[in-house]
Symmetry: C2
Subunit: 188 residues, 2 copies
């Protein structure tokens, strides 16, 4: 009997886990093979471009999920404050309440591949722009909106680094809780 095709969603999830946890260089084909249940040759059948193509596919799928599930609510209808609160809830879920690393962070360490570097930069910028937009809608000045959006992103990334380094996820949850205020009020 022929071996069943491994579901693509499942495959991408496991692939994402490995890159998120180990970074590009640490994501060896052995680890990927073990995590996905696919042997090396099967991985190359799915991704002829090898590891580099896998990393780009992971970035692309994460991008799509993030855009539709996290950023979409930001540009939807309703009050800016309510939209931001919705985002923070989904963000908490996305990052496992602070227990998961950010893929963009993990993949940006020691990366020499230009395409991947650029993809990371673009994903970061798209996220930032979405935050700026909602802050503007909330009534902040352009200068303040940009500053607060940067601060929001920095807070999230920094708190995830701290959680990974110390195991303490509370600061991450607090940062999320304060995001609505940060992105809507014009004074701290």
């Amino acid at each position: 009997m022929p071996a069943k095709k491994i579901d693509e969603d499942y495959l991408m999830d496991r692939l994402t886990d490995v890159f998120r946890l180990h970074g590009y260089e640490g994501a060896s084909l052995s680890r990927i093979s073990q995590a996905t249940g696919l042997k090396r040759a099967s991985l190359y059948h799915r991704f002829p471009g090898g590891k580099e193509e896998m990393a780009e596919a992971v970035l692309k799928s994460a991008d799509e999920w993030f855009t539709s599930h996290i950023l979409a609510p930001l540009t939807g209808s309703g009050k800016p404050l309510a939209r931001i609160q919705k985002m923070t809830k989904r963000l908490s879920n996305f990052y496992g309440a602070g227990r998961h690393s950010c893929l963009l962070d993990s993949l940006s360490i020691g990366e020499e591949d230009v395409a991947i570097r650029q993809h990371i930069e673009e994903s970061f910028s798209a996220w930032l722009e979405a935050l700026v937009r909602v802050a503007l809608e909330a009534g902040l000045t352009p200068v303040m909106a940009k500053e607060r959006a940067e601060e929001a992103l920095i807070g999230i990334q920094g708190a995830l680094v701290m959680a990974r380094a110390t195991g303490n996820t509370k600061p991450f949850l607090r940062i999320l809780k304060n995001l609505p205020k940060l992105l809507t009020l014009d004074s701290k």
Copy 2:
């Protein structure tokens, strides 16, 4: 003529660069050899425990430098505000005005070695405690001091991640500039 001994300070600096830039798995002996000018066998003469010992030595030397040059001014004499300002200046220099990654961040990705994980956690905690102490001296309540210290650390780490991912170091410099206020004022 016998080959001259490579200066230890120089060796540790180059070694630190490699681990900071590539993380543990990306710091191959080839890269280390090229960066330090020492061949594989010479590296094992200096570090019989191999790569793991190199990483621990790098963490130890970074710790010592950080404690004496960055954290020491925090516990010295003078007003808390002035001490914090001194720290921010040295922090900016330490991180190349935002162009360098944090060693603790780079080494915490995908690390399975317990000793290294623990070292990272302790370094993080020591840094945090120093920040809490100076915030307390500045008159903040214990609860606020801890919160602000965490926020300071998160800001620094997050801004460094952002700088690495996007190439934009301005947010990092702004975060540093706002540290004195963050750690001394009891309202934002």
